[in-house]
């Protein structure tokens, strides 16, 4: 894996590995149009974030993982 993949998917929960990724202050502002990215459903069918948010008046997106 390349360096960014390895650093993003850190192998240990230690501050020097997880803190650099926590950049909420620099994230997109409310009142702006969101950035669009490719995503996949659990059947590995590709979609996009813009496809998701265009389906409803409002769409809640919770980010997270099993751990």
């Amino acid at each position: 894996m390349d360096d960014r993949l390895t650093r993003y998917n850190y192998d240990s929960f230690v501050p020097e590995k997880f803190e650099p990724w926590m950049n909420f202050e620099a994230s997109p502002k409310t009142g702006t149009v969101g950035l669009d990215f490719p995503l996949w459903d659990l059947d590995q069918t590709p979609t996009r974030l813009s496809e998701i948010w265009s389906r409803h008046d409002y769409t809640i997106v919770e980010f997270g993982s099993f751990t």
């Binding site: 850190y10 909420f24 998701i52 997270g64 099993f66």
Partner: protein, 156 residues
């Protein structure tokens, strides 16, 4: 969050879970090295934690997650146009529901002729830390996850 998704579904509110990266990797759920593994962990999330919302998976390098600030359990709300109307660096169902109750009235207010203009507001919300549940989750990840969290946050 699942219950809220069901509650507001009829009000044209969608809700998804976006799988990012392993925040607390352990022996049972180690850090991600392939998309196949990422899909497998995401399916376990659905099956073990009974997540009933649609689960979508980010790329292995977390392009979407990183662009939105990379917090481990944050929530964003988008309008149909893609406009960002809510962002929270942590997920709290009460906070999200409060926001959805407000936003879900906007279309009907506009329909009856109200002239609405957007403005920005900042607010400090409070969440229940649910420490016991959190440590149960860490234990499921493996002893390594528990030990690393205790070391990083000795009073946590």
């Amino acid at each position: 969050m699942n219950a809220m998704a069901d509650k507001y579904g009829e009000y044209k509110v969608g809700s998804i879970f976006l799988y990012s990266h392993e925040a607390h990797p352990g022996e049972n759920y180690p850090h991600l090295t392939s998309m196949e593994q990422k899909f497998r962990h995401a399916r376990d999330l659905r099956d073990v934690l009974d997540v009933t919302r649609p689960i979508l998976v980010d790329s292995l390098d977390g392009a979407c997650h990183r662009a939105y600030g990379s917090m481990p359990n944050m929530t964003w709300i988008f309008a149909r146009s893609g406009l960002i109307v809510y962002k929270s660096d942590w997920t709290d169902a009460h906070s999200v529901e409060n926001a959805i109750q407000y936003f879900s009235q906007i279309p009907s207010r506009r329909k009856v002729g109200e002239r609405l203009a957007p403005f920005h507001v900042e607010r400090l919300d409070y969440r229940n830390q649910e420490r016991e549940q959190f440590y149960k989750c860490l234990e499921r990840n493996g002893p390594k996850a528990v030990a690393e969290f205790r070391k990083a946050f000795p009073t946590g």
